[in-house]
């Protein structure tokens, strides 16, 4: 349930579901998201321009010309939420090349964690991850939870350009950069697989919330010859 509602600037509402991150809380966030989205779709509410679910927060943006904080807050407080679940959850396998030129932060991670580069990769490849949300630029999937042994913070200063396909880790999470973009995650490899298909307007995402994702290692040759 929502623990606290506050304003994020003058044109967005910040719904806080607490500090914990787990599948149960995430499902609750997604329930709120689905209900609100339905109201917007059926024109039952005006002025809402975006609804952004994340691990344990929901941000509702609105057009200050058409509504305001108090009005949208009331809509959220009056939502009747039934239990909900991720539908049609899929299992997806993602190829990843971890050669040095793709694994930009592997050496510094190894130094920071005092674990060998190979061991970091082995730990990462051995688990199946839950997709909590999509976002950032073009559907980047936020996956979790990675093993406690390889958890680190974001880079102190984010990179101006992270290459497309980069697989990054930070805290208990892992993600895939769908496009070249700025970013602060620790990069451990790169996938040639298309994660976001902008030509598919109905469903551009390969990985959606609730899906289960695992990674497998490929060679540089396989990476360069990847075809789909």
């Amino acid at each position: 349930m929502i623990k606290n509602i506050s304003n994020l600037g003058d044109a967005a509402i910040y719904c806080d579901f607490g500090q914990d991150v787990n599948e149960k809380i995430n499902l609750n966030v997604v329930s709120y998201f689905n209900h609100l989205k339905e109201l917007v779709k059926n024109n039952k509410v005006t002025g809402i321009t975006n609804i952004t679910p994340s691990y344990n927060k929901l941000i509702v943006s609105f057009d200050l010309k058409n509504t305001n904080y108090n009005e949208v807050k009331e809509i959220i407080e009056n939502l009747q939420i039934k239990s909900d679940s991720h539908q049609n959850s899929k299992k997806i396998k993602i190829p990843i090349c971890c050669d040095q030129e793709y694994a930009l932060d592997l050496i510094s991670l190894s130094n920071k964690l005092k674990i060998s580069e190979n061991e970091i990769l082995e730990i990462h490849l051995s688990k199946e991850y839950f997709c909590y949300m999509n976002g950032f630029i073009a559907g980047m999937p936020f996956l979790g939870d990675i093993d406690k042994k390889i958890r680190v913070n974001r880079l102190e200063t984010p990179r101006v350009r992270v290459p497309k396909g980069s697989v990054g880790i930070t805290e208990q999470f892992c993600n895939i950069y769908t496009y070249e973009s700025p970013g602060g995650w620790n990069i451990i490899g790169n996938t040639p697989k298309k994660i976001f298909n902008k030509l598919n307007f109905d469903n551009p995402l390969l990985i959606s919330p609730g899906d289960k994702v695992s990674f497998y290692k490929i060679t540089k040759k396989e990476y360069l010859n990847w075809y789909e």
Binding site: S6, A11, Y179
Partner: protein
């Protein structure tokens, strides 16, 4: 009759089509985009009798040089811009912003540069001939979404125009007052209490300088380091334009219209909606100061801001 288009003789630094933006897609990671300075964008459309949300060309710093091929068109440029019109008969006219012009086949418009600002707008009566992508004309070059395959315009391209003949041109012009505002008003962010007393004191009392690392995604600032006393990371969560986030290096970043939809740096403050068009126009090297306001005041300032734009638009009609 052949189609009417503008040939790109020089592309400029970042020339794209923008409109009011793309909504309802944050949850799949597609950001809002749209004209950075919505006020100048809307006024550019008003000057050529368009729907206010018709797609217009946005340029930054150095603009494009465009040549009209076939037909005649009604155009207007808004912003604080140096530009020239080169007539087919070689006559040269100094361009004036916030005024519309009649261009004929063979005429060129050379948008030389923005003055003490970053973005300018070029609108044409009837709009540009292109399809909406996800319900918007906005080009998002980071995600490669929008018309022109999500890319900025490049040398030699043809930008097609819907309306190839203006039967009756009527001159329109307004006297737009630029406010060279260095005070940016903000509301406390959701991680305001992550920062030390000293950091908050710096943030609201010291000057910050806009760095060269500024674009449609965001603006990085240089100034006194903002010390975080709780955690320099938060769990990644949704973002909106205007959020000021502070990574571990203590230097604030203001998020703009092409911002990532999700991020994990603490939010110290959010620029109020009324001041967004102002802050995006400040070029690198400018010094700014932040001032805290309440939500209720921010809402009222926004009403004033909208009334001000509407006043200019009424003057045009």
């Amino acid at each position: 009759m052949s189609e009417t288009y503008l040939e790109v003789l020089r592309s400029g630094i970042n020339t794209t089509i923008q409109d009011k933006g793309r909504h309802h897609l944050y949850h799949i990671g597609i950001t809002v985009s749209g004209a950075m300075d919505q006020s100048k964008f809307k006024i550019s459309n008003a000057l050529v009798s368009n729907d206010l949300n018709e797609g217009a060309i946005e340029f930054a710093y150095q603009g494009p040089c465009l040549k009209l091929v076939n037909g005649n068109i009604n155009i207007a440029i808004t912003g604080d811009i140096n530009f020239k019109i080169l007539r087919k008969n070689l006559a040269e006219e100094e361009g004036k912003c916030f005024k519309n012009y009649f261009l004929e086949d063979g005429d060129q418009i050379d948008i030389i540069s923005t003055k003490k600002s970053v973005f300018g707008y070029f609108a044409v009566e009837g709009g540009f001939k292109t399809d909406k992508v996800w319900n918007s004309f906005s080009i998002n070059t980071k995600a490669r979404v929008g018309p022109n395959n999500g890319e900025k315009f490049s040398l030699g391209q043809k930008i097609y125009i819907n309306k190839s003949n203006i039967e009756k041109f009527s001159q329109k012009e307004i006297d737009y007052k630029f406010l060279n505002e260095k005070i940016i008003r903000v509301i406390k962010g959701t991680n305001y209490n992550y920062f030390s007393v000293n950091a908050l004191d710096n943030f609201f009392n010291e000057e910050y300088t806009i760095s060269n690392l500024s674009d449609r995604m965001g603006m990085r600032l240089e100034g006194p380091k903002l010390e975080n006393i709780i955690n320099t990371n938060i769990k990644s969560e949704g973002l909106v334009k205007g959020v000021i986030q502070v990574p571990a290096d203590g230097k604030p970043i203001i998020l703009f219209s092409d911002h990532g939809t999700i991020g994990g740096y603490p939010k110290i403050a959010v620029v109020i909606s009324a001041d967004y068009d102002k802050v995006v126009q400040l070029p690198p090297g400018s010094k700014i100061k932040f001032k805290e306001v309440s939500l209720i005041n921010a809402e009222n300032y926004f009403k004033d801001h909208i009334n001000n734009i509407e006043k200019y638009i009424r003057e045009i009609k």
